[in-house]
């Protein structure tokens, strides 16, 4: 047995021109969440409790693309998804199409612990959330000014943008995202422009 270990992530594919202060903000949040996980592990919390605790913290801070600060759909709303898995016994839970649950990872945990299923989605998942009494908020809670600006950018460029922050301030720094020959499923992203 090699002792405890923990890793966190806040998304891959980062704008190379991301301002330094945004980089620092992201690193501070990662450090804070790592420390929350470390103190939980030192208190002998089981692994499954620690991953839920840390992801709840990440979901509550708008710096990354989850919970508050989530990317927006083409309609300008938020539809979140999450999953969790306990290696002991390979138990798992997942949710999709979440629009009002403040911490989707905790709903995924409840699917694992309190439902006979592994995955619930959209209205079924939202109904389950009500049954379980998890904290719910308006969809607006998840929407930030930054992301409204990013959605506008994406629509102008007729593209779907990846998991990274492109600051609306200094819009010209976003051109790297639009001009880069990014592909999805082997096709230029522009193919995915909304009809």
């Amino acid at each position: 047995m090699g002792g405890w270990a923990i890793a966190v992530h806040g998304g891959a594919g980062v704008d190379p021109n991301l301002p330094v202060e945004r980089q620092e903000e992201a690193k501070q949040l990662l450090t804070r969440c790592l420390n929350i996980g470390i103190s939980a592990l030192r208190s002998s919390l089981p692994a499954i409790d620690v991953v839920e605790l840390v992801v709840r913290e990440l979901e509550s801070d708008p710096v990354f693309n989850s919970g508050r600060g989530s990317a927006l759909t083409e309609k300008g709303t938020v539809e979140m998804e999450a999953s969790i898995m306990d290696g002991a016994g390979r138990r798992c839970g997942a949710v999709s199409g979440i629009t009002t649950v403040k911490n989707p990872i905790s709903l995924a945990r409840l699917v694992m612990d309190k439902s006979p299923h592994s995955y619930l989605a959209f209205s079924g998942a939202e109904d389950f959330a009500r049954q379980q009494g998890v904290e719910t908020v308006d969809n607006d809670y998840f929407i930030t000014e930054d992301n409204i600006g990013m959605l506008k950018l994406a629509k102008e460029a007729k593209t779907i943008l990846f998991d990274y922050r492109i600051p609306p301030v200094g819009l010209d720094t976003c051109s790297s995202a639009v001009d880069s020959p990014l592909q999805m499923n082997g096709l230029p992203l522009t193919v995915y422009a909304p009809e």
Binding site: G3, A5, A7, T31, S70, K75, M80, E81, A154
Partner: protein
């Protein structure tokens, strides 16, 4: 997307991933994050959480593949992560974090940076974005 993977002092692994998806996505689009075996996976050997181009992660069953090559090919954790990122993503861009039951921690990505941090009980701690 955000994620966390842990192995506790008893060697139990767990993984969790949460996301808002892609900016300007179609309503109803499902990515890799809620799909066990793609965006998230954990078993007795390891815990994995992925992020990036969901469609590529789904095609490559990325998270489960890390556990599979450890189980079937006997690779170590970092070897498994490097193999999967290199061999399973085709042209897709993504990254992942992983822990093993032996208290190891690893990450890999094939795109421009990944917001990540890791720590182990023997005092190692690192937070970074770029290579």
């Amino acid at each position: 997307t955000v994620g966390c993977v842990v192995v506790d002092a008893q060697g139990r692994c767990a993984a969790a991933t949460s996301t808002g998806g892609l900016m300007n996505k179609m309503s109803g689009r499902i990515g890799d994050s809620p799909l066990i075996g793609a965006g998230t996976y954990a078993c007795s050997l390891c815990g994995v959480s992925c992020t990036g181009e969901g469609e590529a992660i789904i095609r490559g069953t990325l998270a489960r593949d890390v556990a599979a090559v450890m189980e079937y090919k006997g690779l170590g954790l970092q070897e498994a992560v490097d193999y999967v990122v290199k061999e399973r993503l085709d042209q897709g861009k993504a990254g992942l974090i992983a822990v093993s039951k032996n208290g190891e921690v690893a990450y890999g990505f094939n795109c421009v940076g990944m917001f990540r941090g890791c720590a182990t009980e023997d005092g190692f701690m690192e937070v970074g974005i770029w290579e």
